[in-house]
Amino acid sequence: MTEATALYDVPGPHTRRRHAVYGVLSTAVILALVAWLLYLLFDTGQFTYTKWMPFAYEGVQELLLRGLGNTLKAFAFAAVLSLALGGLLAAGRLSDHRTVRWPATLVVEFFRAMPVLVMIFFIFVALKVQPLPALVAGLTLYNGSVLAEVFRSGVNAVERGQREAAFALGMRKTQVMVHVLAPQAVRAMLPAIISQLVVALKDTSLGFLITYEEFLHAGKLIASNLDYDLPFIPVVMVISPIYIGMCMLLSWFAGWVSRREQRSPKTEAVVPATAGPGALLPGGEPPMAPRP
């Protein structure tokens, strides 16, 4: 066992033997499953030359790369804009003025409760916007609202003494926020922020549904080509490792930052957020800073 749970004792020799038997059996079952999948793939002729031929063509490769580029472009826009909007909305929600705080709260709660796809379709269909701006706007509104909650909970989790000390030094409230609270909050919430960006990256694939020419769209074009014998499964086998790999890389980065922050003296005043179990879920709750 890697971590101790309340479930088991340290196994004795008899139990260890039993577990070894279970291990062999379950390995056999899993291998059989994999073999059956491979058999299905071969049986339905997914590895024929015609189905894989398109990937050797430069035009097809360019199409895929252009799609990937468009995905990354949408992600870059959405990430930058939602970070900006998140900062703005968080500042609004933390404001001392009720006239600013209430509208900001309303905006955040509304966009968090709406499915992001409804927003995207609304902007695309009702406001008749081009696919890329519609996708970026929808992602920005949703992820910006979630990030606002992340920032806010980070600021609120900074130890009270920090704020009090800053005020005692004669700083004004903007100075306290900008020089003392925000830097510590951002550092501590960095893993949660990156996790939210993974959600944004995953959600760029929604552009496929509003005919934005992104990675999945390029795949669909190749997959529905009769000349190559409808190479649907090969396309999925090429596209998904790239997509999943990109997201995994980013979430691994979030985990790495989280581990690093946990031993950093710069975040002593606030407990760093770990990339928790709920993170990475589109439409899920924003990860909150643990209460000190």
């Binding site: 066992m1 971590e3 101790a4 749970t5 309340a6 479930l7 088991y8 004792d9 196994p11 577990h19 279970y22 291990g23 379950s26 390995t27 899993i30 299905l40 339905t44 997914q46 409760a113 709406m114 499915p115 992001v116 796809l117 409804v118 379709f121 609304f122 269909v125 009702a126 993974v198 990256l201 995953k202 959600d203 760029t204 694939s205 929604l206 496929f208 549904l209 999945l216 795949g219 669909k220 997959a223 649907f232 499964i233 999925v236 596209i239 998904s240 997509y243 999943i244 997201c247 995994m248 979430s251 928790g276 179990p277 709920g278 990475l280 879920l281 589109p282 439409g283 899920g284 709750e285």
Partner: protein, 214 residues
């Protein structure tokens, strides 16, 4: 207002479609998530590896890609089912990874001493699990599972774009009839709000009844 009253039938159909999709996918996600969570805490290494791989891959898959692969890919293997079943499969499998993580986190919150105490009282593994560990894990698992299921309800909108009868998909029918598009979306939004608020109310109730006293 007349957008709603004139098209009440279409809206009701879409609303029920979303509700059904959410319900079945939730059941699948809870069942699969439970199985995967038990794999992930199992004393057998190959099961742990399988559970971890399942969670890691699905958590990092865009849901649209999964829908794309399931709805358009599985028929290539000669597996032809109605689109709603495929949608339930895709949504359920996807969400099961998050449910699994929530359940595992819940099991890990139970202090080791609880299990040790149960065993020293002479309880068997089954008794330890069903009388001591799971009841305590259940209490701390209610809020994260609730928010995961709310997210599932919101994600079910993607199924509408893959021609499953569902709330978001109703905009096409109503739009073709020439109704005001903004109001069409307003009522769709209200429909989603009703579903998510209902789930959130349900889990608040559960939490108040069984939750951890803090």
């Amino acid at each position: 207002m007349n957008v709603l009253t004139d098209n009440f039938h279409t809206y009701a159909e879409g609303f029920l479609g979303t509700l059904e999709l959410t319900l079945y996918a939730s059941l699948l996600a809870l069942a699969l998530g439970f199985v995967m969570a038990s794999f992930r805490v199992a004393p057998v290494r190959s099961l742990r590896v399988f559970g971890t791989a399942w969670v890691t891959v699905l958590r990092n898959t865009p849901l649209t890609l999964l829908f794309f692969a399931v709805l358009l890919g599985l028929p290539r293997f000669g597996l032809v089912l109605p689109f709603d079943v495929f949608a339930v499969l895709a949504l359920g499998c996807y969400t099961s990874a998050f449910i699994c993580e929530a359940l595992r986190a819940g099991i890990n919150t139970v202090p080791t001493g609880q299990g040790e105490a149960a065993r020293s009282l002479g309880m068997s593994f089954g008794q330890t699990l069903s009388l001591v560990v799971l009841p305590q894990a259940f209490k701390s698992v209610i809020p994260p599972v609730g928010s995961t299921l709310i997210a599932l309800a919101k994600n079910s909108a993607i199924a509408g774009a893959f021609s499953v009868t569902e709330l978001l998909g109703t905009y096409k029918t109503i739009n073709e009839l020439g109704y005001n598009i903004v109001w069409t979306f307003v009522w769709i939004a209200v429909g989603y709000l009703i579903i998510t608020l209902a789930i959130s109310a349900l889990f608040n109730l559960l939490e108040r009844k069984y939750g951890v006293a803090r």
